[in-house]
Amino acid sequence: MSTETTTFTTTDAALTRDEMAKIVAADIPAGAFVNLGIGQPTNVSNFLTAEQGVTLHTENGMLGMGPVATGDDIDEDLINAGKIPVTELPGASYFHHADSFAMMRGGHLDVCVLGAFQVSGGGDLANWHTGAPGAIPAVGGAMDLAIGAKATWVMMGLFTKTGESKLVEALTYPVTGLGCVSRIYTESAIFELADGTVTVRSTHGITFEELAERLPVELVKAA
């Protein structure tokens, strides 16, 4: 699950959201138990193959979650953490909220994929609260998800609308979890984080050198 031997690659164009989701999906080891956060990470499920045999966890109490339900399959008692009706796969199981979060907190899930406002080079994650004055905070399962799985991966845009890097030296947004992120997927690059070192696995529509210039953290190019 950690940084296997990675070879640096580069492509001319930035990744689309589907391309990002497809890469994340391909990186998930066969047979893994995975929680996909709300938003972009949910899209990863569309690119998992049956051969991978990945089991999806939803923190509202289910393993073996299937695709989004449509038409007659919609059942208000069967929803995911984003409150979207989903389906049940053969071999599924249901459990209560304490057992569900115990499963997560106890380190039983292999991978959790989350969105983020910011990630630090040390793997600190900010994704729950803008910290803006007057903003009403809501945390949900964000903090549990951040620190629970064996590996926490982030999918995010690398830059804010105003062009600032969301991969930062130190978080300016409120912390969700410390030192928990080990991989970041963005449209412009994919990063591996380990022991304070940020390794660039690939760049997309940008060269390693350009990236190194724009980001406020020291980058290592994968071999």
Partner: protein
Amino acid sequence: MAPRIAATAAEAVANIHDGATVMIGGFGNAGQPMELIDALMDCGATNLTVVNNNAGQADAGLALLIKERRVAKVICSFPRQSDSWHFDEAYRAGELELELVPQGNLAERIRAAGAGIGGFFTPTGYGTMLAEGKETRVIDGKGYVLETPINADFALIKALRADELGNLVYRKTARNFGPIMATAAKQSIVQVSEIVSTGSLDPENVITPGIFVDTLVTIGGNN
């Protein structure tokens, strides 16, 4: 004691008093005891502390209780949503206290109350705003926050089916907070689709043993 069987939701909630702490099950619409919440609205009890994953949505259920200022405090993980306007208004007006708890800690604190645990060290929230003012400890190199049990006077729960002794089974992800809230409240009030005769539920498959159930009411019955 075999549970009291109430004829109506109004009768089921009739002894909820001003100032009570009331847990309300459900995650999204799944497992939400809507008829019991409506009855709580009608019964007039005020100055309530409500424990729920959310803080009401749109113009129904818990949102109405908040709109009418019947709720003094909410303990929840995810208050702000696109349609949480009544919560937003009461909170911004300073007329509603909010205790924001990461969802897994919320579940574990409810379980702890039911299990007679005086407090527990959880990694979730360590190093974040939500641990401010709380005791922390580093155990084997990992940071933990001390969290305390959440007890309640009443729990409002929706299950699928009960037997006459109050043994409960749930349905799919509607199980969520029900089983743990039933253990943490002095009195659990449960709405079910049907009450079956004692002996009809397989003892292996009972999710909430009847010892945790005080009042049953049959609602609808179309599940």
